[in-house]
Amino acid sequence: MSDLPAYNGANGKAAASQLRRRAAQWTEKADTIEAEIRDTEEAFTTALARQDELQATRDRLARRSSTATRVPR
């Protein structure tokens, strides 16, 4: 098609580059959300581990305290 004078498609090219800019922005937003999902899941794991640790400490303290208050016969 190069042997004929070319059509000047400047408007179409401008629209194409606007679409590509938006596509890049939308992809970036999707990547950001996926990263937030991963971070939130990690935060959940950390929070659950912390809660488990806290509960284990409470249980230990409760056991110790019940042993300490036991009156020997």
Binding site: M1, L4, P5, A6, Y7, G9, N11, G12, K13, A15, A16, S17, Q18, L19, R20, R22, A23, A24, W26, T27, K29, A30, T32, I33, E34, E36, I37, D39, T40, E42, A43, F44, T46, A47, L48, R50, Q51
Partner: protein, 142 residues
């Protein structure tokens, strides 16, 4: 337009035998002008489609911002800093946010894919229009 597409039509105008150079120049110029006018109209409709596609994504872009903020500021940071417990209500809230986030990601990726498709068409309005004419011969005489 008897040709298969505008490109063939322009080639035919150039390969026809004319009585003189002036007649040939006038016929070739007229074929180009006619072709470019049709492509220009088509390009205008491609541009409108592109703008429509961008405008239709406003909702998903707003959802993306909202769900990112919800995950980051209302779940991730408070959970990581210990100001929010990973209890049942938080888990249920996260599951709702996760479902919204997952569907928003899918909508964003689909929007981007569609944008790339429209961009390729806009990039080469002349080629796209010729392809359309070959695919839909009924359009040739419009």
């Amino acid at each position: 337009m008897p040709a298969n597409d505008l490109h063939d039509f322009r080639l035919e105008a150039r390969s026809t035998v004319y009585p003189n150079r002036a007649a040939e120049d006038a016929a070739v110029a007229a074929a180009d002008e006619y072709s470019f006018d049709r492509v220009r109209n088509f390009e205008r409709s491609l541009k409108l489609t592109a703008e429509g596609h961008i405008a239709r994504q406003e909702g998903v872009v707003a959802d993306a911002t909202a769900v990112t903020t919800e995950l980051r500021d209302e779940l991730c940071f408070p959970l990581a800093s210990g100001t929010l417990d990973a209890d049942q209500p938080t888990i249920e809230r996260y599951q709702k946010a996760l479902s919204k986030a997952t569907s928003t990601v899918a909508r964003l990726r689909e929007a981007a894919k569609q944008a790339e498709f429209h961009a390729a068409r806009c990039d080469d309005a002349y080629g796209t229009y010729n392809q359309t004419l070959r695919a839909y011969p009924a359009l040739r005489n419009r």
